[in-house]
Symmetry: C2
Subunit: 364 residues, 2 copies
DNA sequence: CTGCCTGATGTTTACGTGAACACGTTCCCT
DNA sequence: AGGGAACGTGTTCACGTAAACATCAGGCAG
């Protein structure tokens, strides 16, 4: 019967205020145990209970013991609503995001939650299942009313733009996957740098040019990767083939792969994430194009699975844990110093992990 | 300057209580706009503001408009701490889990968050990075003090067991990945049923027996799958080879695969999740064992990627969305009816998705 | 014309906590 | 021994909201 609350306080508030008593015949008289209850049982004032509860000095050991005993007996738990009201803060960070299914968000959220916990903060999740304006606006509105001290947004920029006005005044915000560095703090993997490493790696192997399977247009990260891919090719004087547009899913990578398999010139592909690379590998395999002998493939993310693709995938490693850590650091810095206006972009370096899906092109 | 708070309330509380004023020279006088501020600007009582804010009837249109205008002007937002204190609830559900990285948890959490949002509840995440007793206990303790009305636990049973006593009295709990059905409500995929479908499928194809790559012992789901696998084999009178023990990772599946490739008798393998199946596929491929011609492989989870493995993976589909939905339903039912003691196990059916990684054994 | 009822709005109060201040005791120092 | 500092504990109050009750004006029926 763990879940039952104590049947009766040991010393019921007989003579005191009759709150809750009147007109409630059989019902439980009180939802929760309050400081006053503990104080009464321990025979002290509620302020002393407060002091014990918060570990303040200046309470004699015997009194403290008495209070602690009363707490245990009644199963007292501080009421966080009252605390939050008193202190004006919740020790909670809100996280707005689209989907936990994407590799990036779920790992970033996990890191955020872990680091926040280490700082004594909890995480409140506001997912937006469908990325309509209404949903985004709704999420921001809800967030504004929520028990939250600061907000981390993992979201594309243009959707954020329209929702901006809804952010609670005085809110502390850090954004991922966006270039809103002029208005909010931004933390993100250095997409451009990672992409450059990937594309240059392919060019250095001797490939004439590199094809691209891009992520959805709505994603800022996908845009940045596509831009950087094009920039490297232009810089190297290589022709840039028209990119394929995917949606992060393996299925879209597969579709692109079927098309790419028909391009005899295609010897190197940069996929904007590992899942699309997976679909790509399967399509090429199906069409009898060997990887890496015929076609080299590079992914992005370095998911734990990428090392076990066939063949093991060369990919750009993102340090999601570090991104999450810096997000938390960012909002907590704002929160603690009150320094609202510290926009700027904090880029976490990426690194290329070379495995077996890349090789020099077949000598003609 | 979206983030700035309004410089001054339009009609400062000149004669009223001097709270916050004394000794704070340059500082902002008030952190937040309260009902009283809105009431003053609108020239009504704060109670009327409350009525407007909560959409109560009985406020004349002109008054309502005035209040709404004042709200807009001051950027008023209800204080959820005060609300929670008043109402005694937070409209928030806490979720305790180990890791978002595992496919199952992250998809379950997402479904939980989505359905909770639909019911007007937010989700507070309490991750436990390392599964030590202390961490688990700490998480439960924190959760007890947190702004949370109910708790969903995604965790193995034996760790929960020891932490049980720490759960806040009166808390409403639903558990996933556990058999604590006698004490808490449990929602889970029907692991045994899914496993039976997978193993029977292999036997029906004509395989003599089925090997097993199990998940970690600490996982209840892994235990259930291993049990059911063994039960089906025994029922069919097949010898049960010693299972390999993995840790859900593709790497552990790869290791098991290398060993299995040396077993000439092995023609069918049931992996306890898709990631291990991925590692398995690669190991078999490396060792020249063709899938499904030489060895059939079945996974569990049906991750979105599984359809794009080489070859596309036959696997057991888990309906995580449904599990999440029922979790939320469960706690909200408890919450609303106050029916604490409705333990029982709610199993969500699984189904087998047959793709190309399974085939009859090579005829000898 | 009077009295009551209805509907709109204001006033009071409690929710649980903890800072600030008040009070009383003990013990030390002169 | 007397004064006061230091310390332990109690009392008061405010945080922002909303239910319960109070009040007030206007309309309508007897």
């Amino acid at each position: 019967m763990v879940l039952n609350e104590p049947e009766q306080p040991a010393a019921p508030a007989a003579g005191g205020a009759g709150r809750g008593g009147l007109g409630v015949p059989g019902g439980r008289r009180k939802q929760r145990v309050s400081m006053a209850d503990v104080a009464e049982l321990a025979g002290v004032s509620s302020q002393t209970v407060s002091r014990v509860s918060n570990g303040h000095a200046g309470v004699v050991a015997s009194t403290r013991e008495q209070v602690l005993a009363a707490m245990r007996e009644l199963g007292y738990r501080p009421n966080s609503a009252a605390r939050a009201l008193r202190y004006g803060r919740f020790n909670t960070i809100g996280v707005i995001l689209f989907s936990l299914s994407s590799t990036g968000s779920s790992r970033t959220v996990e890191a955020i939650a872990t680091h926040a916990a280490a700082e004594g903060y909890a995480i409140t999740l506001i997912p937006i299942d469908v990325a309509t304006q209404d949903n985004v606006l709704g999420a921001f509105t809800r967030m504004g009313e929520l028990a939250v001290d600061a907000v981390i947004v993992i979201m594309e920029i243009h959707l954020l733009d329209t929702a901006t006005v809804q952010l609670p005044p005085g809110a502390h915000v850090v954004v991922v996957d966006s270039d809103a560095g002029d208005r909010y703090g931004v933390v993100d993997t250095d997409q451009a740098d990672g992409t450059r490493r990937a594309v240059r790696h392919l060019l250095e192997l001797g490939h004439r040019t590199v094809w691209h399977v891009a992520g959805p247009e709505s994603s800022y990260a996908a845009q940045r990767r596509a831009q950087a891919w094009r920039a490297v090719l232009e810089e190297a004087g290589c022709p840039a083939p028209a990119p394929f547009r995917g949606d992060w899913s393996a299925e879209s990578g597969y579709a692109a792969g079927l098309a790419l398999a028909e391009e005899p010139d295609c010897t190197a592909v940069f996929a904007s994430n590992d899942q699309m690379a997976l679909g790509l590998l399967r399509a090429l395999h199906e069409r009898g194009r060997s990887v890496p002998a015929d076609v080299s493939v590079v992914g992005f993310d370095d998911t734990p699975d990428a090392a076990f693709f066939i063949p093991p995938l060369t990919t750009v490693h993102q340090d999601f844990a570090e991104v999450g850590r810096r997000c938390v650091e960012g909002v907590l810095h704002q929160l603690r110093t009150g320094d609202d206006s510290r926009p700027g972009t904090d880029l976490v370096p990426a690194r290329l992990v070379i495995r077996e899906s890349t090789a020099p092109p077949r000598t003609t």
